[in-house]
């Protein structure tokens, strides 16, 4: 096994990990804010990817411009979904019932995509899809770098919102202790709605990033939800930095393990990590005060 092969794998792993980090960030946010297990998160990713593809095929513009439409659209959809559906679940069984509810939403999205766009597998044709440049002998594909930069920028924005704004403070307060947050005057219902919208907005960015460099089809989301769930458990449920670090570690781990083990076994890294976490440190390796309550 040559050094250049390993270096290239690390580069690919970092790029992949960045995308995983963004995709997992939204998922952990829902859980953090509302203890909602959002099975439909990856279905919304694929929906955003389809919207990006449709946008490009209709207008001929770069798919990144579709973000101008999809990010606000998904934010509003998220707020509405939380206010109209999730908030009606009984708090005592919220986590469990949210699995059923969001599972059905995932099926509806998948069915609608199949109905509207057919099951034909689509790919956005980009003039720069195969373009890459070399750093220290490793090739970095432009599309993967764009996806990585999008992911990094969104995570940074999410971090700044959480740490530097009043809304972020209220959101974190809601995550840490909803009753206490209400006592000091936080409107936790509204904050929860916006938090959900924020999570769905990351799905819009993530889906667009995904669409740049993959072939999409309506049932693709099932391939994503498993690894993403594993990532947020390993990172500690509800912890965005935890999810980001776990995503990076597992992404690089997957890319490197593919060299000796092949593709079939390398994808088990997520589930091995999931089992190991649940056995050794169920609250997650990073962050994750929340999981202790379950």
């Amino acid at each position: 096994m040559s050094g250049s092969l390993i270096l290239q794998s690390v580069v690919l792993g970092v790029l992949l990990g960045g995308l995983y980090a963004l995709l997992a960030a939204g998922l952990t946010l829902y859980f953090g804010v509302m203890r909602v297990v959002m099975i439909a998160h990856s279905a919304f990713l694929i929906l955003a990817a389809y919207l990006a593809w449709y946008f490009t095929s209709q207008t001929g513009l770069d798919p990144l411009f579709s973000l101008i439409i999809t990010v606000p659209l998904f934010f509003i959809a998220g707020v509405l979904m939380q206010r109209l559906l999730i908030s009606r679940l009984r708090p005592a069984t919220l986590t469990m019932m949210s699995v059923l509810l969001t599972f059905s939403i995932a099926l509806i999205i998948e069915g609608m995509l199949g109905f509207v766009f057919t099951g034909t597998q689509r790919r956005i044709r980009l003039p720069y899809s195969g373009t890459s440049f070399e750093i220290f002998g490793a090739n970095v594909a432009v599309v993967k770098l764009i996806a990585f930069v999008l992911a990094a920028a969104s995570l940074l924005a999410l971090y700044l919102i959480m740490k530097r704004t009043r809304f972020g403070q209220a959101l974190r307060a809601t995550i840490q202790h909803p009753e206490a947050a209400r006592l000091v005057g936080v409107n936790t219902d509204r904050v929860a709605g916006y938090g959900f919208g924020l999570g769905l907005a990351t799905a819009a960015v993530g889906g667009t990033a995904l669409a740049l460099d993959s072939t999409i089809y309506p049932s693709l989301h099932w391939h994503w939800i498993g690894p993403l769930m594993a990532i947020i458990v390993v990172g500690g449920l509800g912890s965005i930095p935890g999810a980001a670090i776990a995503a990076m570690v597992l992404g690089i781990g997957q890319a490197l393990l593919q060299l000796p083990l092949g593709t079939t076994w390398a994808q088990t890294v997520f589930y091995v990590a999931l089992f190991a976490t649940l056995m050794l440190r169920p609250q997650g390796f990073i962050g994750g005060r929340l999981a202790q309550r379950f």
Binding site: R122, R125, S132, H223, Q258, G262, T263, T264
Partner: protein
Amino acid sequence: MMGHERREGRDLRVGGAWRRGASAVVAGVAALTLAGCLSSGNAGGGESDEDGPIQIGISLPLTGDFSEPGKGVQRGYEAWAAYVNENGGLLGRDVELKILDDQSNADRVASDYEKLINQDGVDLVFGPFSTRLVVPAAQVAQDYGFLFVEPAGAAEEIFTQGFDNLFYAAPAVAQDHYDYLADYIEQMPEDERPKTAAYAAMDDPFAQGTAYGLKDRLEQMGVETVVDEVYPPNTTDFSSIANKISDSNADILVGGTQYQDAVNLIVAVRQLGYQPRMAAFSTAPTNPEFPEAIGDQTEGIISPTGYTPEASWETNAEFVEFYTEMHGTPPNEDEANAWTTGQVVAAAVEAVECADASPECQQSLIDWLRENEVQTVVGPLSWDEAGRPQGAHLIQQYVDGEIKIVLPEEAAEADFIAEKPAW
């Protein structure tokens, strides 16, 4: 739809007999139904009325994983039935298809054929789509002594199950798809042949079969295998496989692919700057979406194909015309193989002049196909004792932006590009 009265009539008759026989016994409903099925099959199979339509039972994956190709096969079967009925039917009788949806489920497909043969008393059966569903379906047909011609099960494992009623209605089994390409490489001067080869195949009997068929041939010629990767069907990220292939810098890249895997793999190796001298992928390049997805970089990409509307076989022009009139688009491979299945069974039926469920008739159909060659829209077909067709696939290649037949030379529409331009 059309044959409802006849079927219901028979069911009532049998049901009535059952009620009388079973009136004394209050047993489990399931047991009754099962026994009812069996007696219905015997009663129905023997006394098929000579003037009614010939009923053909089919189960297809109209929903689930294989729904896209499944619907293609359905269109092919329906077009064939419409064509036959417009042209005087089979043995002077109309044909009528009874199509069930097996939801791409292997358990379901077996019970579907069980039901078609037993309960509905069909006269003939046609096969479903894809290896995974063909094996259980063929087993049921075998148990009842039915002739089983199938449009889509090219993997070797189908022909090693010991079926003596099965015929694959396509030019070649998966292993032989690349034969013309292998022949071409074999006759190249030794110093011009590729020296190293990289293989990436989906963990799927058909996709792997195509790639490994070529691998066996190339290894015999002394082409060194430098990468041999198998990936699960749900793989969407091909960057690591591409990394290994690119690192090996193999002369020829062979993909045992279906669709999205080929597209993703091609983009991934291009991102790593890998330029093979030859690149061959099964299935994907013949898909109309493929040039949409890959863009201008398709030039020189090779693919074996079992069917193209341009092929000059006897009955093909008529088929393409009829199908295009019916659906507005020319047929693909799935539709063509379904049509071929119809042609093969029809040829046997016309030759032995029977079409009913009796073991004698089914056996004579089987025996006739063993001995004879049938002219079809995918060329003349004949089979070995396990039902393997004795041909090879045409080799197509993207030449000047369009996919064209390049091998064998006698069927070629364009010259083979031996040195693939950069992608």
